[in-house]
């Protein structure tokens, strides 16, 4: 399965492929969808102030990788909502966010 992944620049690695055009400050396309990232291009993006990217997953995640990512997302939300166990509305919000963030992993 080829899925779109929203990642921060620091999570980007060489050999990932852009799934959405990157624009520069002038509105020009800096890198087009489909560009294969390299160490040099990542350094260039950092210099240009790019913080977030959308990349294609290059291949299907293994069941184990999916399980690990689910645990990581869950842990992140648990940390963020750690003082909200007694708040029903916040638990609903947490469930909505969790469902959204896990969607791309399925």
């Amino acid at each position: 399965m080829k899925d779109k992944q929203h990642i921060k620049l620091e999570q980007a690695e060489p050999d990932m492929t852009l799934a959405q055009d990157l624009l520069d400050t002038e509105g020009h396309c800096l890198m087009a969808t489909g560009t294969l990232l390299t160490g040099d291009t990542l350094a260039s993006l950092q210099r240009r102030g790019i913080c977030n990217l959308v990349v294609w997953g290059t291949e299907a995640l293994s069941p184990q990788e999916i399980a690990e990512q689910r645990i990581a997302v869950q842990a992140q939300l648990d940390q963020r909502f750690r003082q909200m166990e007694q708040e029903p509305t916040m638990q609903t919000l947490k469930a909505v966010l969790l469902a959204h963030r896990l969607e791309g992993l399925e």
Binding site: G27, N52, M90
Partner: protein, 282 residues
């Protein structure tokens, strides 16, 4: 003893630097019906940093122009006075607290969060038929009180950070405990002094604690702040999440299904929003 408190807040704020002369004059004129695009553009062109930031924002994915907005004249024609007014408000404050400056507070992460909140507010506003430009500006500037604290009251802010770490709490609660006031009031008073639009001042003041009768914009920014935290966009100074006031959802008639539907759109816009963090030229 902290130097800032409720009694001396207004006096201390009077001593702070103002926005640039051009931005201040523009903010005074923006509400006037006789302001023409020609006058507005002529004034903007006197402030190169402002002009550069306006073009940067005009060329961001929010406006989705198929062609490059290359000049102020282009921006004026394509955007109109209302949108430009909001961009000028946002650009004026961003240039006052540039993302790349280093004063011990991680401004880059701060502005990432602020932009994320602006995007959340903008997307929600579009779904509800509210003013999307004002929503983005209010979301972007909702936490400007934190920047005022970090930039001009560094010792007080350092004491707040120590309290936050010792008590595992929101920055807002640490400010209240240490100073007896928090960034929402500080931000609103400074925004008022800088003559930012009244609805934006209101959203800055009430985004953590909505009054019984709140403006839709305040409610929108309250929800947007919480969503941006939940989506882990940037860092506003703590890693917790404030309680969502359900009456904000009720009054805006927002249900969970709608919120869920907005999340993907928010992340798509945010993925391309890093361009706003580059230092403006000029």
């Amino acid at each position: 003893m902290p130097s800032l408190n409720l009694n001396n807040l207004d006096q201390k704020i009077l001593q702070l630097p103002t926005l640039s002369v051009v931005v201040t004059r523009l903010l005074e004129l923006l509400g006037h019906e006789d302001l023409t695009m020609v006058n507005l553009m002529s004034m903007v062109s006197e402030d190169q940093a402002l002009a550069a930031r306006i073009l940067q924002i005009a060329n961001s994915p929010f406006y989705g122009f198929s062609r490059h907005v290359g000049s102020l004249q282009d921006a004026g024609t394509l955007l109109g006075i209302h949108t430009l007014g909001n961009i000028i408000t946002a650009a004026g404050v961003m240039n006052h607290f540039p993302p790349n400056s280093d004063d011990g507070f991680d401004r880059l992460s701060f502005w990432q969060h602020a932009i994320g909140v602006g995007i959340c507010a903008r997307v929600l506003a579009r779904h509800k038929g509210l003013d999307i430009e004002m929503a983005f500006t209010a979301g972007l500037l909702h936490d400007m009180g934190k920047l005022v604290l970090a930039s001009y009251f560094a010792d007080d802010f350092a004491a707040v950070l120590v309290w936050r770490d010792e008590h595992n709490c929101l920055l807002h609660d640490a400010e209240q405990a240490v100073l007896g006031l928090n960034h929402t009031l500080i931000g609103a008073r400074v925004a008022q002094r800088w003559r930012l639009p009244e609805p934006v001042v209101n959203a800055i003041q009430y985004h953590h604690s909505l009054p019984e009768i709140a403006t839709p914009l305040s409610e929108l920014v309250h929800i947007a702040d919480i969503l941006a935290r939940g989506l882990d966009i940037g860092h506003g100074g703590d890693d917790l999440i404030p309680v969502l006031q359900t009456r904000a959802l009720q009054r805006l008639s927002l249900d969970w299904q709608t919120i869920r539907a907005c999340l993907g759109e928010i992340e798509d816009l945010n993925a391309a929003a890093g361009v706003l963090l580059k230092q403006g030229k000029g």
